[in-house]
Symmetry: C2
Subunit: 345 residues, 2 copies
DNA sequence: AAACGAATGTATAACGTTGTAAAAATCAGG
DNA sequence: CCTGATTTTTACAACGTTATACATTCGTTT
């Protein structure tokens, strides 16, 4: 049944030329309804399906875009991947997924198309990649995702990290917190982390509070365990933060676990804000306040940008700031409210 | 620099035939070292890179395998996807990722290759798909992943769900629990859920305990919210389970959240066991006991099976039972131990 | 009714690669 | 230095598709 059937077979079966069958398949406009139906019948009977490799060879298009993310285990990226896949399907494109581990070396390979070479375009969420690494690539269209702030001629979709971080810290200050720790200033290169630290610093200064750099904990990764370790380090140093702003939700949750182990209550003793609004933050013993980026919009914009470039769009590089909002949950309840909740429970 | 350079260009530059260049590129054995070096020099100078579409058209291979999972948002699948991608890279294959939402219709489309047509093989983790849906596909090699127990000629990699579920329930019984609820018997078709319910039922019977079907909660999905809703429903029905076995970790965590809201303590009042051992379970206020499948092994076996079939392996369909183990954490501490911990904290 | 333009169908040549078979170059032995 | 065997290189034909350019048909207009 599925022994490869080609245009030639259909053409023979329908008694027409190969090109006519091709015309029907591609909805070419000048085909009489009668002819179209006749060919279509043969197509259906033989179960013809176009060979994408041949089409690609001829047209130079594959119908595949690659999405390269640092880590799939991180739910934010998993959810983002889902959004990109859905957006791509809308446009009859399929998505090839790759993960870089956030390592510069892997990111370079991906950006130059060495890992996936059958693609029409690339959506890349870089962590360590440097601007110079993208300097002389002359390849498929590239759209950058996330926080890095390159000054390069590629479309870039992100939320305003500094502003979002300031919103988070402002919220903590508005609760009366004064010693706000930041967890997740990444060891080594990582501009995204730096932007969020900057927002933390700026907002504290703006509020006339000291930005105690001893309350900034650097980590190697950005998972639960990294957050937990960083939190432990801060507490072990003898400092007593009354609030924590974490680089992302998993780190915030890891930090809350350590606070719990040390007998510190969230939010009464320490208020916590995360970043990314992953689903998991909504179901812990203490639900997590978080910055919530509009993932669907980011995914959709990324796909649309790649496809636009692919279709010859030569407008100057786009710099889209996607929406975000601060979602307040239990981890930043006011002290009175938290007390009320505690007695009630 | 990257204006497409083909074998023809290299051949012209080196002053040899196209096929000779091809021979060099493919490490064909009968090429003199001198010739090899001469051609290689031209390749380097011109920056030649093989055109995969053409190679595919000629050889009938793409170097791409598809991985179709129900949901990326579920961390288990995200972690599994990472494992598959890594295993594929080992073999110079790349992975095209798709998600089906666990819906039969989507699963059928995927299984027949309608969504991704540039693939050499397919790894599919079905939920609702029926055996009959796979009956007359004569397509690329297919490997089934996960819990469904089809009787079809395809390789199948899974853990023994009934046994794992029995282990989980036995563990709860060994703690002295008598009213063990099961959360996540899925509404509608879903064999995996049924297998785990069966394990629950069998183990209770084996222990001489009644299997109260009123303690089984069906759900539509398998996320945090579904687990929470199911738990709430059981409690609202007036029953008082002293243990919960959930279909997966997110559901277990959702359930724990509801228990927490109702003032029930885990594990003192209700012990909880999940399934999949996702990272998130290790960082809640109460860490989660869970069945931990060997994800790396599953991913590796799946890739190896697909590639073996692709290379003409015609042995009878493989039925691999991957390893799993029960990882005990706080959510099933013994009552005495839990009490000790409580006074200590 | 002839002639014209528009609409529709067809033959052929690519796209870049590799398998096959045949040609050319090399080598060993007399 | 020739013969025959062996190694190395080459020419050519696919793989399945679409673009180009041409051929046919049809419906109008003169």
């Amino acid at each position: 049944m599925d022994v490869r059937v080609s245009l030639k077979d259909v053409a023979a079966h329908a008694g027409v030329s190969i090109k006519t069958v091709s015309n029907v398949v591609n909805n070419y406009q000048h085909v009489t309804p009668a002819m179209r139906e006749r060919v279509q019948r043969s197509i259906d009977i033989l179960g013809y399906r176009p060979n994408l490799a041949a089409r690609h060879l001829r047209k130079g298009r594959t119908g595949v875009i690659a999405l390269a993310l640092p880590e799939l285990g991180n739910p934010y990226f998993a959810e983002l991947a889902a959004a990109v896949i859905d957006a791509a399907v809308e446009h009859d494109y399929i998505v090839l997924l790759d993960h870089t581990g956030g390592r510069r070396e892997q990111e370079i390979l991906v950006s130059q198309g060495f890992r996936a070479r059958v693609i029409d375009g690339l959506i890349l969420s870089p962590i360590e990649l440097e601007a110079e690494d993208l300097r002389d690539r002359e390849n498929v269209p590239l759209v950058l995702l996330g926080e890095r702030d390159y000054d390069l001629p590629y479309d870039h979709i992100a939320i305003d990290n500094v502003a979002a971080a300031r919103d988070a810290v402002r919220h903590l200050i508005s609760l009366g917190r004064r010693n706000v720790a930041f967890i997740g200033a990444r060891n080594g290169r990582s501009e995204p982390a730096q932007l969020r630290v900057r927002g933390w610093r700026e907002e504290l200064r703006a509020a006339g509070l000291p930005a105690d750099e001893g309350l900034v904990a650097a980590t190697d990764g950005w998972g639960h365990a990294d957050g937990a370790a960083a939190m432990a380090r801060i507490l072990d140093s003898g400092r007593q933060p009354d609030a924590v702003f974490a680089y992302d939700d998993p780190m915030a949750i890891g930090a809350m676990r350590v606070l719990h182990e040390r007998g510190l209550r969230v939010p009464e003793d320490v208020a916590v804000v995360g970043f990314d609004d992953v689903i998991e933050g909504r179901f812990g013993a203490v639900t997590l306040t978080s910055i919530s980026p509009d993932k669907e919009a980011i995914g959709r914009l990324a796909v649309e940008s790649v496809l636009a470039r692919l279709n010859g769009d030569t407008r100057p590089p786009l710099r889209v700031s996607a929406d975000y909002r601060l979602v307040e949950r239990e981890s930043t309840l006011g002290r009175e409210e938290a007390a009320r909740r505690a007695t009630a429970g």
